[in-house]
Amino acid sequence: MTSLSMAPPAQGQDTTDSTPAYGPTLGIFPRTPLGRLFFLWGVLNLVLGLLPVYGILGNSAEIGALGMPVTVLYCYAMFSLNCFLGVAYYLTRGKDCVEMTKSFVEEGADT
């Protein structure tokens, strides 16, 4: 069973505002520049992934660099960007996030 017990709002805290201006817009679109950059990177990956499907870029049976067919090479190069997005996210946000989450849990344990 869960141990959900709600702390009352802090004194002076406005809890009537159901649209705080710091959460992602509609729960989806980040508000900070770096957050938006990561979001756009993800969307760009999606778009780049679809370009060969529409025949716009990287859709060829010819042998290209590394001795691989162009379509295979293009797609795996593009998919690798997803992995590098993960590394970039980890380096810029993940470590901070780790420390902050730890403190959050410690606070929870103290209360």
């Binding site: 869960t2 709600m6 802090a10 809890t15 705080p20 729960g27 993800g42 992934g49 067919p69 959050f104």
Partner: protein, 503 residues
């Protein structure tokens, strides 16, 4: 000789699994649901990577994946996209789910959603039902898939029915005895075993093809039409969306976010899994499946492309038969066992409390009863032709049904305006639309598949109802889930600080 080796290999493998289950049983805290379902939130990086990897990649990665590349060529390449992107989403929202799970002792997806949405009973029941609906057909397909593959690879030595029973008994026993701890420990071994075999198979296929350059040249020359996309973007978009979010929304994967011993483990594990998923599973599958197109090799008449890897070994290295049987066992069971434990947790946490008041001891006894019933139901469906007919269309949108949880989750984590009625109706309507379209009760307007139409319905209901009626959840819940969390994460911390400064 090969038959004896196969049987010996299976016997040794099963003995190892049962030994691990026994050790897990000795370590488990009995009558503690958190320990039983989430191994006490104690998974370290190696365990988490092993279990995320092995849980997500089933027999399909070993048999269906290379087979799809062999049959469809580059048209299956987007398999790589979602397997690399899915773990990234774990990094983005996983730590919040982990922190809330740790703080409030959440075990299932239903725990989190119901807790945020005003302790809603109907949201909890619906989430529990959706989780079990996602897991049951997916599990049934696993069990029939493994049994079919075993029958084929063993040359009929292990018949379909014997295979189903063998898998059911094995998975049932070690999950029953060892709980999630046994599942995670065995996942680590199973995941790395079949990953090693995939890499080994790729290297052998490159060698059998005459080398890297020669292999690709021969393949593109033999079947050039399979090395350029042939259109059908709607299907790609459906598959990409479905599985990218499926990584985090399927109940057994969601629960792995609770299992980590720290958020650092979670984030690091997800980053590693992203590389493993892309390069160890999908890239090896692509090389095996596509290079085979240029080899002096053809699938025998009446054999589907799923049997590509076993047939390659049968023709080029028959002595590997015993290892293959074990690999198929490992790949399939590592997914099936996690699904079994996850379905049981949904039953115990989300459904049972609505019909009976039980303490932890009784709940854990009932959990074991449910596990046995679930496994028996899987066997019955696997044996019944009509059951298999019913299961097949459900399994094909299995992960799609998990998309119904996407917006409710984002609402709980990030959007204070989200309301309980909006979430309930969004989940119910989108689930209904997906199933109705899948069974052709509703016509599919086309362009994309039923899961994305369901997601669209979910978005309309979720945002529409939440915005039309300003009826958010209780202020204390918004504070606990969002306001109190905001300072702990860079994205919301910066925006919250800027907001405060402006105010």
């Amino acid at each position: 000789m090969i038959t004896a080796l196969t049987l010996l290999g299976i016997a040794l493998y099963l003995a190892l699994m049962f030994y691990i289950a026994y050790r897990a049983y000795q370590t488990n805290k009995h009558d503690d649901p958190e320990d039983w379902f989430l191994m006490g939130r104690g998974a370290n990086t190696m365990m988490l990577v092993g279990t995320m990897f092995a849980t997500w990649f089933s027999t399909f990665a070993f048999l269906g994946g290379p087979g799809f590349f062999y049959k469809s060529g580059v048209n299956w390449l987007l398999f790589g996209f979602f397997n690399a992107m899915g773990p990234i989403l774990v990094m983005v929202i996983g730590p919040r789910i982990w922190a809330l799970g740790k703080k409030f002792d959440f075990i299932t997806p239903g725990d989190l959603l119901a807790a945020y949405y005003n302790s809603s009973r109907r949201v909890r029941i619906l989430t529990g039902l959706i989780c079990i609906a996602v897991l049951f057909p997916y599990s049934a397909i696993q069990i029939t898939g493994i049994a079919t593959a075993l029958n084929s690879i063993s040359g009929g030595l292990i018949t379909f029915n014997v295979g189903v029973l063998l898998i059911a008994v094995c998975v049932g026993v070690y999950s029953f005895v060892g709980g999630s701890r046994a599942v995670v420990w065995t996942d680590v071994i199973q995941g790395f075993a079949f990953a090693a075999l995939l890499v080994g198979t790729m290297l052998l296929v490159i060698r059998w093809s005459g080398g890297w350059n020669q292999g690709w040249a021969a393949a593109t020359e033999a079947r050039p039409e399979l090395f350029a996309f042939d259109g059908g973007a709607g299907r790609y978009i459906t598959v990409m969306t479905l599985f990218t979010f499926g990584w985090i929304l399927t109940p057994h994967l969601w629960q792995r976010l609770y299992m980590a011993d720290s958020p650092q483990t979670l984030v690091k594990g997800a980053a590693i899994t992203s590389f493993l998923a892309l390069f160890v599973v999908t890239f090896t599958g692509a090389v095996i499946g596509m290079m085979a197109l240029g080899m002096d090799f053809a699938l025998p008449e009446g054999i589907t492309s799923d049997a590509l890897v076993p047939e390659l070994y049968a023709q080029f290295l028959p002595a590997m038969g015993a290892i293959l049987v074990i690999a198929v066992f490992a790949a399939g069971m590592s997914t099936l066992d996690s699904q079994l434990i996850s379905a049981t947790s949904s039953f115990i946490q989300d459904l049972l409390p609505n019909v009976a008041k039980v303490d932890n001891h009784q709940a854990m006894r009932l959990a074991r009863v449910f596990e046995v019933v679930f496994v028996l139901a899987l066997v019955i469906f696997a044996f019944s032709p009509s059951g298999r007919q019913l299961i097949a269309p459900l399994a094909s949108i299995g992960v799609g049904m998990a998309l119904t949880l996407l917006l409710p989750l984002l609402g709980a984590l990030f959007w204070a305006r989200a309301s309980e009625p909006a979430v309930f109706w969004a989940m119910l309507l989108s689930w209904g639309v997906m199933i109705a379209m899948q069974f052709k009760v509703l016509p599919n307007p086309g362009i994309v598949g039923p899961p994305l139409w369901g997601l669209l319905v979910s978005a309309i209901a979720f945002f529409g109802i939440s915005l039309l009626r300003d009826n958010p959840v209780e202020a204390e819940r918004r504070k606990a889930f969002q306001d109190d969390m905001a300072p702990h994460f860079p994205e919301t911390a910066q925006a919250q600080a800027a907001h405060t400064a402006n105010a």
